[in-house]
């Protein structure tokens, strides 16, 4: 205990490094008695590095006191302290949950939102009850954060609740969050709920259409494929990645039915157009659906000499699915001229 006292004294040293080492040592000592002096020092400490060390120490101390202290710090005036307290609680994981439950019941709207910020990534019993409460919270930010978390952590048991919020939600940000979540955890009934709310894709603003496309990519079939293809020519370039992503995803799950010959000119335009290379890569990949057509096949072969390496890579991947006689010769001919290492690898395997 005397060494703990020594460390605690050094917390007030005029030398910054000494205070950092003292906080570290209190943390490694790992006794609950170390928590109050750390918290007290935090209140007056001007150095960011020392405050950091104090929080690292709170993480190391394996005691309820460090959790309780951190929950109180969630209400600090200083956002840096709040955020670091959040990190401590996240690291404590399941042990934090009972304390967070209390904070959720009694705290103001900002504290309730922070509780949810802690919970992302925490799997433990008791968490569902917190989310149940959060989804009915009067504050929209609490609800939105809850929906975000549930989608990201794949909490499928909350699927129906989120579908309900999609149908009744007023705020666009909440609706967007529900779409995003359902893209991750939705099923066919979720798709139906989405279509009830948004029967007409063409009329949707970008900030709804993008997460909706994600959901359609995960859940849609041939009908949705046809609707999405119509968007490629009419929506702005910023939506191309989302549209192409949905088309590729649906096609992969329904290769026979999800298929549209009319896509060829639009996809060619994207490959040629010079929009971000990643988008051109995606379009070249999407052309793989049509590689059984002679004109698409010829176009893909011509892409093998594109100056943009990502176009060459996308074309190679698409061509591999084509199973055409003479394809290997075409690829070998390209390999003879190719200088990019990764493209060579793609040609070789």
């Amino acid at each position: 205990m005397s060494s703990l006292n020594e460390y605690m004294e050094k917390l007030d040293s005029p030398d910054e490094a000494e205070r950092i080492y003292a906080a570290e040592d209190v943390g490694y000592y790992n006794a609950p008695e170390g928590v109050p002096p750390l918290l007290e020092r935090l209140g007056q400490e001007p150095s960011r590095a020392v405050r950091d060390a104090i929080f690292q120490a709170l993480i190391r101390i394996d005691a309820d006191a460090s959790i309780e202290g951190s929950v109180r710090l969630l209400e600090s005036e200083d956002p840096q302290i709040r955020n670091q307290a959040l990190d401590v609680l996240r690291r404590k994981g399941a042990r934090s949950v009972p304390f967070l439950n209390t904070a959720m019941r009694n705290g103001g709207k900002d504290l309730r939102k922070f509780v949810l910020d802690v919970l992302i990534g925490v799997q433990a019993s008791g968490v569902e009850a917190i989310y149940e409460a959060a989804l009915s919270d009067p504050d929209p930010n609490v609800v939105i954060t809850a929906v975000e978390n549930l989608g990201r952590t794949r909490a499928t048991e909350f699927r129906r609740r989120i579908e309900d919020l999609l149908e009744t939600g007023l705020h666009p940000m909440l609706v967007g969050a529900c779409l995003e979540a359902l893209a991750g955890i939705g099923d066919n009934s979720s798709l139906a709920a989405i279509r009830r709310r948004f029967p007409d894709l063409a009329a949707m603003p970008d900030f709804f259409l993008a997460p909706c496309l994600k959901a359609l990519g995960a859940l849609g079939a041939a009908t949705e494929f046809a609707e999405v293809t119509g968007l490629l020519a009419v929506r702005g370039p910023q939506l191309r990645p989302a549209i192409l992503g949905a088309l590729v995803a649906i096609h992969q799950r329904h290769p026979a039915e999800a298929h549209d010959e009319d896509l060829l000119p639009d996809l060619r335009a994207v490959v040629d157009s010079g929009c971000p290379p990643l988008c051109r890569y995606q379009a070249a990949r999407a052309l793989g659906f049509l590689s059984s057509r002679d004109d698409a096949y010829r176009f893909l072969v011509s892409c093998l000499s594109s100056p943009e390496r990502l176009v060459r890579l996308g074309a190679i991947e698409s061509l591999r699915g084509a199973r055409r006689p003479g394809l290997q010769d075409v690829l070998n001919a390209r390999a003879a001229e190719e200088t990019d290492e990764e493209v060579l690898q793609a040609l070789g395997c």
Partner: protein
């Protein structure tokens, strides 16, 4: 080869950036795909979205991220590696620190090359210091080169390197600071004496505390292999090891801002560097 959608690639590169501080832009799409494919095969995962989920939400100790890190980083060491960053050091940071010292009447310069491996980095720094600052000989000037591996430290002491290690040394530097000996190159004694090899385990916090009073710390392409908690602990020690006004250099694509906000970001032309205020 698993199909990695653009969005999944962006999500992965975001996650890699947040956890390791490494930047992966679209030029590295294919590179990342092939490495991810290997990890997926090792884990028996078929779908890319499962792997993305695992990295984001089912990797509590960061072990999978470390496994991926081992595949996506190269471990080569050679002289004048990460030239851009060395330019920032030579053209801006070092002159700034030296002027400040001269103004204060101080005549010492101490650099720490942490995780120095076979020594190419500390000798590179020694060459740069002598070139930018010829008076180095009359000052108390030293580069402490630490590593956990005694075999590596023996190679630092030998100061003898093959063609692969010296391939990127600018001709001027090669002429002034190295001597050819058969198919190897030896660092000239005058330069080599600036470097002091020393055994140190970056995880040993008491040993780390003994490192104080440095003007520069270099730790490039070592910390990406550490888990989150250890990485933070090491970088926090670098802070204490530095004098005010001192600079820390991680690998050019490793962002120190991911690990701690105790350092201040400074910009010199196109170079971003971190300094202890």
């Amino acid at each position: 080869m698993p199909d990695l959608s653009v969005e999944q690639f962006q999500s992965l590169s975001q996650q890699i950036y947040q956890k390791l501080g490494l930047h992966f832009d679209e030029k590295k799409l294919y590179f990342l795909k092939t490495r991810v494919a290997r990890r997926m095969a090792a884990l028996g995962i078929d779908e890319a979205r499962e792997y993305v989920f695992k990295l984001n939400y089912a990797d509590p100790q960061g072990l999978e991220m470390q496994a991926l890190a081992n595949l996506i980083t190269t471990n080569e060491t050679y002289m004048f590696r990460e030239y851009d960053q060395l330019q920032a050091f030579a053209n801006f940071c070092l002159p700034e620190v030296l002027s400040a010292k001269q103004a204060r009447g101080e005549r010492s310069l101490r650099i720490w090359s942490a995780g120095c491996s076979s020594g190419e980095e500390p000798y590179t720094l020694a060459m740069i210091v002598q070139d930018v600052f010829p008076q180095a000989q009359s000052w108390d000037c030293g580069i402490v080169a630490t590593d956990i591996d005694e075999n590596m430290l023996a190679r630092v002491a030998a100061a003898r390197y093959g063609a692969r290690s010296v391939g990127d040394v600018p001709d001027e530097y090669r002429r002034k600071y190295l001597i050819e000996d058969g198919d190897e190159w030896v660092v000239r004694r005058r330069t080599a004496t600036l470097v002091e090899p020393r055994h140190l385990n970056l995880h040993d916090r008491m040993a780390m505390r003994s490192m104080r009073g440095f003007d520069f710390v270099f730790c490039r392409n070592v910390l990406i292999y550490f888990d989150d908690a250890s990485r933070k602990a090491v970088v926090d020690h670098f802070y204490s090891a530095l004098n005010p006004g001192g600079y820390v250099f991680l690998g050019h694509s490793e962002s120190i801002g991911r690990v701690t906000t105790a350092f201040k970001l400074k910009r010199f032309e196109t170079h971003l560097v971190y300094v202890k205020e």
